[in-house]
Amino acid sequence: MANTPRFTIVEGSPQQLAYKWVGIALFSLFLLLIAFAYNDTGSLTLLGNDYTISTPRLTKAIAFIICILGLQVVAGFTGQLSLGQGFFFGTGAYLSAWLVADHNWSWFATLLVVVPACFVLGMIVGIPALRIKGLYLALVTLGLAAIFPSLVQLEGLKPYTNGAGGKQVSSDLKAPDWLPLDGIAAIFQKIPLLGQYFGDGDLSSKESDRVWIFFLMVVLAVICFKLVSNLVNSRPGRALRAIRDNETSAAVTGMNLSLYKTLSFGLASALGGVGGIVYVAELGIASPGDFTQLISIYFIVGLVVGGVGTLSGAVIGGLVITFVPDWASSTQELPVVPERWLSGPTGPLIMGVLLIVLTFVLPGGVVAGTRKLKAKIVRIVPRTPDGDIAEIVDVDELLGDDAENELAAPSV
């Protein structure tokens, strides 16, 4: 066989469980390390430019990750392109900022309002476009995304949104006293050689709040991922994929196309709203300039970079759209590149080029690329009834090279 994996693990065996749990443990440890390492001081030197990766930026990335997760549901699994995720992102952000600042709600209580509100709003604007086959959802949502900044700056809404100045809100998310954050930081600081990367001394109260918010939002994101992954692996999830792959045959098998399409768009919008809560809880301000159509298109970039139709792709996409434009705009000099090109909108340029190049080179995104690599090392095979290891059948070889591309790039 052309590419025999180094290890073969039978599904459901102790090895597979160990493999799974070691992966989860390593990921959690990584999160812990990164939260403390980049708390305040951590900076990354990339091509001669210092660039700060701080915990607040990571929390912002979580906000984007949840929004892209929503896009994965509607674009990745249902095949309906939405260019208006920024609209729901903004709605969630403003709604929660208003509830917390003016009505003293707690951040997580706003979920109870934001999620249903964005869900229903998404359904209402989604129904007309989703009844019809084609790119209509993209057209409608592009318009929505473009009107959002002027919508929140309307005279009538000024008392609630504070117009162009942005809605400020102070965070009430304080690290609880029982949590030994200082102790954890001290342990990390004692690690030989690496200890210097974790700052020195106790965390200030601001720093421990940041770490606390980061972990709270990680938990929220994990819950969102779990819910979405349960959905896509269940009966409605299969219906969504059937619609993506062939609308006509899905209709013929008795699926209610517009119902499923609208529900998935509503769910995507609700997740956009959740992302908005995370964003404003971290940043402390919702301002109209943050919710232009640019952010909606960045979400599409995140979707494509990570891989359309893969949940873990949302994580990679969120990190890319958080860090790449920021890095580009904080970089003022690079060797070879003329200065004029760096002082302009370099971030959007990189994102645009990335979008085009990835569609050519890696249509399945980063996740599809790493899956291919991983398949060369470890392969998990299903257990056969008599307990033997099933014969490994290379799906790629059976179906030809195009198979993977078709699975990864659904048609609209």
Partner: protein
Amino acid sequence: MDLFLNRVFDGLSNGATYALIALALVMIFKATTLINFAQGEFAMIGAFIVLVLATERGVPMWIAVILAMIIAGLGAAGIERTLIRPFDPADHLPLVIITLGLFLAINAIAGIVWRFDPRRFPELFPSGNALTIGSATLTWYTVGVVCTTLITASLLTLLLNKTKIGLAFRAVSSNLESSELVGVRVGPTLQFGWAIAAAVGALGAAVFVANPVLQLEPTIMIRVLIFAVSAAALGGLDSLWGAIIGGVAIGMVQSIVVPYTPIPNELALATAVIVLLLVLIFKPAGLLGTAAVERV
């Protein structure tokens, strides 16, 4: 009454420019049922080329416009050949993503090259008023824009109905696979569609920013694109004359309906979205478009 007439004239000049961008969108939609989200940015680059040629090289205005149309057309043909043709025209997602990438990249490049400060655009039509009714004035600009749009749509109709390449284009837009079977070279025909669309778009952007109250800057076409999308959907996404009617209708809604209703002025763009939603609810095929009928 005079105020009303003034608003009608405003609506005409805005609507006629939306119609030109909508025409460009329709050209590409007709052939491949794809919406080119970078159409507005192509057009914006065209307007900048006109500005550079006219102010820095001293080329006469209309010759500069024609040169810009040719350059935009060639550029779009090149983009079609390198970035669009490698993909299956029936699979929309990668193509739409490419056009979104073009949207970001072209806008950023324009921002880097020309910066974001607004620039005065030289006059394309004589200044002054063609007609004065009471205190309502019809400017030569409005007359010029409406004539430009009508002439462009007529020339496009002639091109599609009387020339060989037009026949090929109509064949491809009617049925891509069958036309390939009878020997139409599909690739170059679609490339021709992209080139024509970009040229019409460049003309549209040039006449749009030639409006004495507007200035040229890299972000100006984003709003126009949304109005144009709505206009194209209202007219029927595959109908050239539908795009004209849709454009004028959207322009009228913006300048007549908005002032007489409590809709605030800043939300003029929202009317485009509302019209689009109404079209999708009541007449998805648009006014002059062909209804999609699918054989299972």
